[in-house]
Amino acid sequence: MKGLLKRWSFWCLLVLAALALFGTRLFDALPEAEVAAPFSKPLWLDRSLPPTMDLELSGGHPAAELDWVFGAPSRFSLRVETALPAPSRFVEWTIPGGKTFRLTPLNRGVELDGRDIAFKRSLGLPPFGDASSALFPERGTYRIGLSGEGEWEGSVKIRLEGGRWGLLGTDQRGRDIAALFVAGIRVSLLVGIFATLLATFLGTSLGLAAGYRGGWTDAVIMRAVDLLLSIPLLPILMALAALWGKGLWQLILILSVFSWMGTARTVRALTLTLRDAQYIEDLRGLGAPAGYILRRHLLPETLPVLLATMTLGVPGAILSEAGLSFLGLSDPRVISWGRMLHEAQSFGAFTAGAWWMLLPPGLGIALLCLVFLDLGKYLEERVDPRLRGGNVL
């Protein structure tokens, strides 16, 4: 046990498990919530991008001036809330150099956004790109105010989104990537551990049955093993994912159904050798029922090997899930690292140069696999001393 505490993977796993259980409390919003503009960069990345700003014009303060020292904001949106509409008066935007844009008349409930093509056309802009880059062409002093004179009740709220957010920025739907990353730990751990547990359980029971009983049971189970081994994993997973809908537990079930074969073979081989051992023969001679022999004697013999195989099987399950998610065949409501990579790739992280979207999930998967590999190695060494020595992991 002491050896376990000395291994880096053990501590890593503890940290990851803690994050999986409590990590979402670190964030204010749910991982699926939209928190900022899509493809926002991490806070530490691009200093020339402005911070997110809110302005408000009201009856008492009908104008505002901005000393703008940044690049253009990534989003511009405006909302008019007024008790009495004054359609002859407009919200005006003046850029350095004097040119003025008329944004909207003061009607009740007007909502404008730099992405609306109608808005862009009203400003005489081409329909492509966000209007904010035309509204903020350079550094300087900008003025927003109301045309015309007179009293006015109501408010005009303007929001300028900076384009920077959080530790890892946002994805194509404006979700916090750091929050998604932490949520993904849970999914990967769940899939990895449960799929392997289930597969081990299946494999052990079937292997014991085949090895101990022999005859017909053995033949049928071994045929099933051969059949399942002849079907390549990824294609059948693809077909079943398409067939069965895409829940997380369905995926775990499918993964385990196709991974029990190796364990079954190993357990069967072990059972075959042990079955003919002297003390087992003696027990049988004494009239001990098969169940007793299996439970009290054979099963404990297989446990050390099983533990090692199981720990080494977890990375396999995690990688299979990641592969399926990457190909787009998983449940999109389930946030997993593979899914994050799939969405990054299909929604244009590449084109946007958003490497902060692509690296964390991939590195996360690799880290988790390394952790389990190391733990598995440790357990394997405890079982089979020959592999010890010269082993650095």
Partner: protein, 556 residues
């Protein structure tokens, strides 16, 4: 309410202004001639990132359909590329099962329409690159009727409407009908996010918007084919679906006539209104344009009152062309990679060189009989011609292989029937040099009809006889009367008789891999169009060459 009207007003003004070019000069197809380009490569690039990078690096010149907002934004900042926007006939709709409670209530459907925040959805999901749709035919349709009932986004007004119709809200916020029935939880069928990510998202948002006014809706993503089966079996409450309409409004018949409420038919909501049926019948079998227009107008007005489905948005098609080429024809109805562009494009400077166009997926069989994907027809449409073509500005019918035609009505054994008489151009040659005659067209129609080729089933089903009084005249007698027969029949690609009559099995015919009997540079794909098919390398590209003998604009 006002601000949406304002937005509508703005877009109407600017759509009109934007289409100003067509008002100034009418389009003259005869001003075009054979393609200036000698070599055209349709490069197969499926990955959008790779497409963008190829355009950026100058490896391709035209990218026809950008659908990721991120790509459009990136290209809008690229000074070497021109972007253009075209509205189309795509329509995305929210459908109801009008046969049962609660969607058999008209006021509920109208309120649902008012509760949907279209502009916000378009803004958030498409970054603004889609058109909020509030009509049953898209605004670019030549038969668009603007004077219909509107239901601008206003959840408050929706509630008032419901209250006025006798609906009440329970303590949990769920609506109760005037006769005391509470709305059970509704399932909104939609495709899964892996097949259609934005659709799934829209479904979720619509569900939220409707739940907010008291209709408890939840989105239920499922495999697309399963969803269609469920719709076919009428086992649904609500659904979302998108389809491509066409410039002919008689598709309204397919969607909303009660006769189409059958298995395999598209009247999934199950709307059945005698007045609507009558108008749609008149539309489908309209004898001439006046009747067609009147019927189309009435149909749209009725539909906006009956609300069998709620229109949500229509996709724009955005295309990008490298500034190193000039002569591109762009309108607000066609994208940059249309036939007219390809006829007129040439390098902005320097000698002629090959043009590279992006093809977003493999053309498949390249068999004009069986090919149904847009990717096949991106290729085949440049090779084959039909009797009529479409004006890129007004979407009206213009002469193509047929230089003129008449539409007549004659009495027949089963009632009056339309007779289309086409006069074909002179001097048109197939790519292998043989002349085009009316016999080719007749043989094409007869072959399609005889073999009941599925893709053309509806086009030729109503043809009774085809006659060729002489080499340049084609007389097609239909079985009944309809103004749309002209488009249905005139839009079929004409195939060469001397090639087709040698085909044994149209189902497995692979003309692209056959060698032409006499011309080594040709394959089994022989047409009269502006480009000649040369080579298809699966996974890589399709190579076409300019037809030097193309009939358009040739001096005789």
């Amino acid at each position: 309410m006002r601000k949406s009207l304002f937005a509508l007003f703005l877009s109407a003004v600017f759509l009109a202004l934007g289409s100003a070019p067509r008002a100034e000069a009418s389009f003259d197809p005869e001003a075009f001639a054979g393609p200036k380009i000698q070599d055209l490569y349709l490069v197969i690039i499926r990955d959008p990132d790779a497409q963008l990078l190829a355009l950026d690096r100058g490896k391709v010149d035209i990218l026809g359909d950008l659908h990721r907002p991120v790509d459009v934004d990136a290209l809008s900042k690229n000074p070497a590329v021109d972007l253009s926007l075209a509205s189309g006939f795509h329509g995305f709709f929210l459908g109801f099962n009008v046969r049962t409670f609660p969607w058999n209530s008209l006021e509920l459907r109208r309120s649902a329409w008012q509760a949907l925040p279209r502009e916000r959805m378009v803004r958030d999901l498409f970054a603004g690159y889609a058109e909020p749709l509030a009509t049953f035919l898209p605004p670019v349709s030549p038969y668009f009727e603007p004077d219909v009932t509107a239901y601008p986004h206003d959840p408050e007004a929706a509630r008032k409407r419901l209250a006025g119709a006798g609906w009440t809200w329970g303590s949990d916020g769920v609506l109760v009908s005037p006769d005391g029935r509470k709305i059970p939880p509704q399932k909104l069928l939609c495709p899964t996010a892996s097949t259609a990510p934005t659709t799934a998202e829209i479904a979720v948002r619509m569900a939220e918007a409707l739940t907010a006014i008291g209709i408890p809706v939840q989105a239920e993503p499922m495999d697309f084919s399963t969803m269609i089966s469920r719709l076919d079996e009428r086992d649904f409450q609500m659904y979302v679906l998108a389809w491509q309409m066409t410039r002919d409004p008689d598709s309204l018949y397919a969607f909303y006539s009660s006769k189409m409420d059958i298995r395999g038919g598209y009247n999934m909501p199950g709307i059945s209104d005698p007045a609507l049926d009558e108008v749609l019948d008149r539309l489908r079998f309209a004898p001439d344009e006046t009747a067609a227009r009147a019927a189309a107008s009435e149909a749209q007005k009725l539909l906006s009152d009956l609300v069998p489905v709620v229109p949500v948005y229509s996709r724009y098609t955005i295309s990008a062309v490298s500034k190193q080429w000039k002569g591109t024809l762009v309108t607000d109805r066609v994208t940059a990679d249309n036939t007219w562009s390809l006829l007129a494009m040439e390098p902005a400077s320097g000698p002629m060189r090959p043009l590279y166009l992006v093809q977003a997926d493999e053309p498949r069989a390249l068999n004009p009989f069986t090919s149904s994907s847009a990717y096949d027809w991106q290729v085949l449409g440049l090779i084959y011609d039909s009797l009529i073509a479409v004006d890129p500005y007004t979407l009206e019918t213009i002469p193509w292989l047929a230089e003129s035609w008449t539409i007549g009505t004659e009495a027949g054994p089963a009632g009056p029937r339309t007779v289309l008489t086409f006069r074909l151009r002179e001097g048109v040659e197939w790519h292998d040099g043989k002349p085009l005659t009316a016999a080719d067209a007749a043989f094409t129609y007869e072959t399609l009809k005889k073999n009941a080729v599925p893709r053309y089933f509806d086009n030729v089903d109503n043809i009774d006889t085809v006659e060729t009084p002489d080499d340049r005249t084609l007389k097609v007698t239909m079985k009944n009367v309809s103004f749309w027969h002209l488009h249905r029949v005139g839009g079929i690609s004409i195939l060469p008789r001397h090639v087709i009559e040698k085909v044994n099995d149209w189902r497995s015919w692979l003309p692209a891999s056959e060698k032409h009997p006499s011309d080594p540079g040709l394959t089994g794909i022989v047409g009269t169009g502006p480009f000649v098919f040369r080579e298809y390398r699966p996974g890589e590209y399709v190579r076409l060459s300019g037809n030097e003998r193309f009939w358009l604009g040739r001096k005789r």
